[in-house]
Each structure stands twice: as C-alpha cells, then as structure tokens.
C-alpha cells in the first residue's frame, strides 16, 4: 500500500492548532524543516511532548508563539547553554509546564502503544515533579504482600501527532530509524505520525531483513515528505553533524525577543527556497 507523499508545507498543514505533538531530542532524528513550516504557518496552542526531552526545535516553536504547553523531562541545548526562548517563556508564565522524568514519558507512551489505560512506575514519590502532575496518581501495588506499597500510576500518553525525521523511507511509508527506537514507540503510541526523510529510496525497506528489524512499518505513517538535510541545523546520528556556527548564532540571537525575531525573519519566514520545496 502506497504512502501519501507530501511536500513539507503540505505535511505541516495537516497538523492542526492545539495538537499534542511528540518530538524527539536533538540527538535523535529531528524534523526541523517541518518545524520551520509549522512556524511559517503560525500554528498556535501546540502541546509539545518531549520524548523524553526537547532541544532546538522546541525553543524555536516556543519563541515563535506556537506553543501553549510543554510536557517533557527537560528542554536542553546541551553544550550551547540554557534554551533561551523556553527559559523566557517559563519565567513570563506564557507556557504551561508539565515537568516529567524521562522513564515516565517512555512508560506512558508504552501504555498508549499497548492500548492500556495506565502503567505503574517506580520512583517519583516525594518529588515535586509528582506534586505538580495532577494528571498522575499514587496507588497501591495490588500484589504487595502485607503492608502498603505505594506506586505511581501514569495515564497512557497518546499524542495527536508524532513528528519525526529519519535517514531513509520508501514509497510504502516504511521508515528506517535504527537504534533510535523511541521514534518507533512514538509512532506506535500516537494517533498520527508524520515523517520527513533524507531520502525516499527505491524498493521496499521491509524486504531487507536487516533494515526491516529497525524500521517503522507504513501502517503507522500518515504521510511522508522528502527533506534532504531535513534535521538542519541539528545533525543526524550516522549522517551529518550539527551546524555548530549556526546553532551558536541562534543561541546568541535568541537571548532577546528582538534577536529571536531577527532569526525568524532571516532563517524561517523568509526562507522562500525552503517553503517552495
């Protein structure tokens, strides 16, 4: 069965305002070209889910006013320092934070993947993460011997959209993610999955047993778009490195709202070449 193959702009246009959008961290495969299209299309009220953390793409979306809520274990630009638009938004109260811990996000996505309404998880008890998550509950382990055994119950986390990038996909929508299997978990857990790939290859990925073992089958993929260097300015593992100078420049500009607007105008809004792809 053939996949729907779209342009980046078409793909982004299928993600409505208010969507709960799951995104991977910078060290995985980030669909930055699609994120820029979301910004160009002035999406609003997105609820970002970091799987399990977020980086540059979240800082840009937040700075551009696309985001209402951030659910994540962290927003980090690692060696580039604090995420400036994220930090400013939290301080000003313009976004709602749902702080989590990494394994809680993985586990809650696994609950959605399995079609179970919740999953228990150890840890968290006594933390202010738990105290601030009104959507989580503390229950008792039903298999505890005599005394109580409190344990956190996490409701299934079902994003409306998983938005990911990958090195290769095929015309059937099969997408190779290698060891970055949290991207597979995202696709299994989310209602819809949109993928950009460096290259749409000939043939069927699932006919190569080695590739198949690390590929998301097309049944989970709502649409695919080809995006050469689609993670830029972030890199992709096993592919190209991050654009260090560009990212450093971003962080410098994004320290202020004005600087960030300058970045937006220069690299996103006025990126006609990209918009026309």
């Amino acid at each position: 069965m053939l996949a729907r193959q779209l342009t980046i702009e078409e793909l982004a246009s299928e993600i409505p305002d208010g969507s709960k959008v799951a995104l991977p961290p910078d060290y995985a495969y980030c669909a930055l070209s699609a994120v820029r299209a979301l910004i160009r299309q002035q999406k609003r009220d997105l609820h970002l889910v970091g799987v399990p953390s977020l980086g540059f793409q979240a800082d840009m979306l937040i700075g551009a006013g696309c985001v209402a809520t951030v659910e994540t274990a962290a927003v980090t630009l690692s060696e580039y320092g604090l995420a400036p638009r994220f930090t400013a938004a939290v301080k000003s109260g313009s976004i709602t934070m749902m702080d989590a811990t990494c394994p809680a996000i993985h586990a809650a996505l696994q609950a959605s993947e399995k079609g179970i309404p919740f999953i228990p998880l150890r840890g968290l008890i006594g933390s202010d993460i738990l105290k601030n998550r009104k959507d989580w509950k503390v229950g008792n382990n039903p298999f505890a011997d005599e005394k109580d055994d409190p344990i956190v119950f996490l409701p299934a986390l079902k994003p409306d959209v998983a938005l990911i990038h990958a090195p290769i996909g095929d015309k059937f929508g099969n997408v190779w993610v290698g060891v970055r299997r949290e991207q597979m978990l995202m696709a299994h857990a989310a209602k819809t999955t949109y993928v950009t790939v460096e290259e749409i290859v000939e043939g069927n990925i699932m006919e190569d047993l080695q590739l198949k073992a690390a590929a998301i089958p097309g049944i989970y993929i709502n649409a695919i778009a080809e995006a050469k260097n689609g993670a830029w300015p972030v890199g992709i593992p096993g592919g190209y490195d991050s654009d260090h100078q560009h990212l450093k420049g971003y962080v410098e500009l994004a320290q202020t709202a004005e600087g960030f607007d300058k970045y937006l105008n220069e690299h996103i809004y006025n990126s006609k070449a990209e918009a026309a792809e």
């Binding site: 060290y27 995985a28 799987v51 399990p52 953390s53 994540t72 274990a73 962290a74 927003v75 980090t76 690692s78 060696e79 604090l82 995420a83 994220f86 930090t87 939290v90 301080k91 109260g93 702080d99 989590a100 811990t101 990494c102 394994p103 809680a104 993985h106 586990a107 696994q110 998880l121 150890r122 840890g123 968290l124 008890i125 006594g126 933390s127 202010d128 993460i129 738990l130 601030n132 005394k147 109580d148 055994d149 409190p150 344990i151 060891v179 970055r180 299997r181 949290e182 991207q183 597979m184 978990l185």
Partner: protein, 244 residues
C-alpha cells in the same frame, strides 16, 4: 611528579567508589564522572561495563531511549551520577527551578531521569563543581528527586557520595544526611563549613585530605581515559588533557 589537576583528583576519587561494580552508567554533561567510570573500568580486569549517554563507542543500548531506565529498573545498573542546580542537606536534588516553580527566578532544563534513577540505582554519586551556599543549600526550591524516602517506598537505590570542587561527602543513611569524608588538597574544613548552605556531620577524627592519584593512575587517566573521553567531550579533553 607533574602538577596534578583538580579534575584528576576528582576523577580518581570518584573512581574509587566504583571498583568492583558490574555496570556504571553516565548521563549527559558529565565528563568527570565519565572519565572516573572509564578509569575504574581500566583497572577492572574486564569485569566492568560502562555506558555513556551520547557515546558511540561506549553505548551498547539497542532498544531505544527507554532501555537505560529499564535496565536500571531491572537492577542491572550499579552506579549513576547526578548533579543539581541545588542540592540540600537531605540529599534532595533540584534540576528544575529556583524560586517559585510557577514563576521561577531561574529555570533549568529539567529533571531528566533523576526522578527515577535516584530511586533504583544502588550507588548514585552526586557531583557539583560549584561548592557555594548558592548551590549547596539548606532546602532546595524544587525536589526533582528526594534524597531519602519513607520506609514503605520501594527504594533499592539512593545517594552514596557527594563530590564537589572542595571536598567529598559520604551519605549517612541512618541519619539521612551528609558526612564530610575528605577535603581536597588546598582546601580546609573551615572553608567547607563556610561555603556549605546545609549542615553536615564531621567525623570524630581529623578529616583526611582527598587522595592524589599516584603516578600509575595518572598515566592511565592521561592516556587511555583521556583518549576515550575525548570522543564524547572533545573540549573537556582538550582543555584538561591537551587532547585534540
């Protein structure tokens, strides 16, 4: 003997707490713990595994982002490292915010895996290389992960040591607090008392100086450990060991 750097003293001191363990995991932004783990592995006679987040050479995980947490939950991770914007005398760690959580004065990236790993990994070694009353506080503003738990809470893991740029604390599990174990060369107990925002125990005897690595150990640190750590932390390896 050549001049020994603070980083080398820290690497050596941390590594002493890892000997005999089977699997050490190192999280993000942790060059010194990473080097300490590689040093401990170098003298383990091939009996120790080290996994380093962000490394390709030292990262054997093949089941996605969840595996490092699953493996800890299975009891297959013996030691891990945590830092904090603030750490308090109850070993609570804050990686989130200073001030009111909803209107913070400062906001940091977030709790990452701390809210889980601190509970299940037997030896969590805290490290904070700015030892001041601003970082080692009486009470953290936000608990990413609590130092100690009530008896009914499942908690096979928890804090084991706290190392700073001035000293090494051990954890006193009975009294649920820190106890000064050794002071790094060039620092004093009085300075530690002055620069620590929380109360801690002093040993009955004199506080020893943190050991300086011997020549053989230095050779390993500056040789294979420096080379291996430069894969993940090139700027650290370049600054400390002159590797590029």
């Amino acid at each position: 003997m050549s001049t020994v750097l603070l980083e080398e003293i820290l690497i050596n001191a941390i590594s002493k707490n890892l000997d005999g363990l089977g699997h050490i995991a190192v999280g993000a932004s942790s060059p010194i713990p990473g080097a300490a783990a590689l040093l401990a592995r170098a003298r383990s006679n091939g009996s120790m595994r080290v996994s380093i987040l962000g490394s390709e050479d030292n990262n054997f995980f093949s089941d996605g982002g969840k595996e490092i947490f699953d493996i800890a939950g299975q009891g297959r991770m013996d030691a891990f490292f945590l830092s904090g914007a603030q750490i308090d005398g109850k070993a609570n760690v804050n990686l989130v915010a200073v001030g009111d959580y909803n209107h913070p004065k400062a906001r940091f990236p977030g709790s990452f895996g701390s809210g889980y790993l601190y509970f299940v990994v037997p030896r969590v070694i805290l490290f904070r290389l700015e030892h001041t009353p601003r970082t080692l506080v009486k009470e953290v503003d936000f608990i990413s992960a609590p130092g100690f738990s009530d008896d009914d809470v499942y908690r096979p893991g928890g804090p084991y040591k706290l190392i700073t740029d001035r000293c090494l604390f051990r954890v006193n599990k009975q009294k649920k607090c820190f106890e000064l174990e050794s002071v790094h060369p060039g620092h004093t107990v009085n300075e530690i008392l002055e620069q620590t925002g929380f109360e801690f125990l002093l040993p009955d005897n004199e506080v020893p100086e943190t050991e300086t690595p011997d020549e053989a150990t230095l050779k390993v640190i500056r040789g294979e450990v420096a080379r291996e750590i430069s894969e993940i932390y090139p700027s650290f390896a370049s600054r400390v060991f002159g590797i590029k």
